[in-house]
Subunit: 141 residues, 2 copies
Amino acid sequence: MIGRLNHVAIAVPDLAAAAAKYRDLLGADVHHPHDHPEHGVTVVFVQLENTKIELLTPLGENSPVAKFLENNPSGGIHHICYEVSDIASSIRTLVDAGARVLGDGKPRIGAHGLPVVFLHPKDFDGTLIELEEVKPELQPA
Amino acid sequence: MIGRLNHVAIAVPDLAAAAAKYRDLLGADVHHPHDHPEHGVTVVFVQLENTKIELLTPLGENSPVAKFLENNPSGGIHHICYEVSDIASSIRTLVDAGARVLGDGKPRIGAHGLPVVFLHPKDFDGTLIELEEVKPELQPA
């Protein structure tokens, strides 16, 4: 079911400072910030050789990241995202096995313009898992 | 400085159950458990297409993972590991910039038989970062 690790998302209190640290101190390839008002986050991608880090900070009211930062004021790893080739089939398999898909259980369009769902952390050892449907022909070689 | 994401480490209370979930439900390539008494952990590798997940559970007394699981009984993401090509040079750069290397500040041999250090999570947005020295010729293509 799961393919590549698409990204690790890290919630940060100060996006500019976090981005500068990854660029200037860790020497990584850091993209410009991107607002995603529909998801309540501003995101900076850090492109590594084999995957991405997403630095997230809250945007607007009711950001899903705001509560996490209240509980973890220094920031922390928020979720990991695995790629799947057929998200509808993945959801069926998971729900049949008793795993819980968050929200209404249906995929929505994520920050990359592709269908995503989040799985309940209690079903996966305290890890918030995002599944993103990535068609094989869209995957980098 | 940083190259590939070598792995994401997830601390789990029940290693067999976590490994079975990754193998049978998420359909991943899951290796056999490996005891590392010198690091106080038993580890199961989950090999993804582009990186690895390490499922960790405490082994013996004074495991570095035991306290994490006390605070997070369901488990959770424990650390992420970035590869570097010259760990001594990376440590110098980080320390010169004011970042803190845990322990005595010197690399020790990690679970993969390669030199590693851990960086203070407070210096990196609440994220425990491991750096592992991987010579380019040892990296998978």
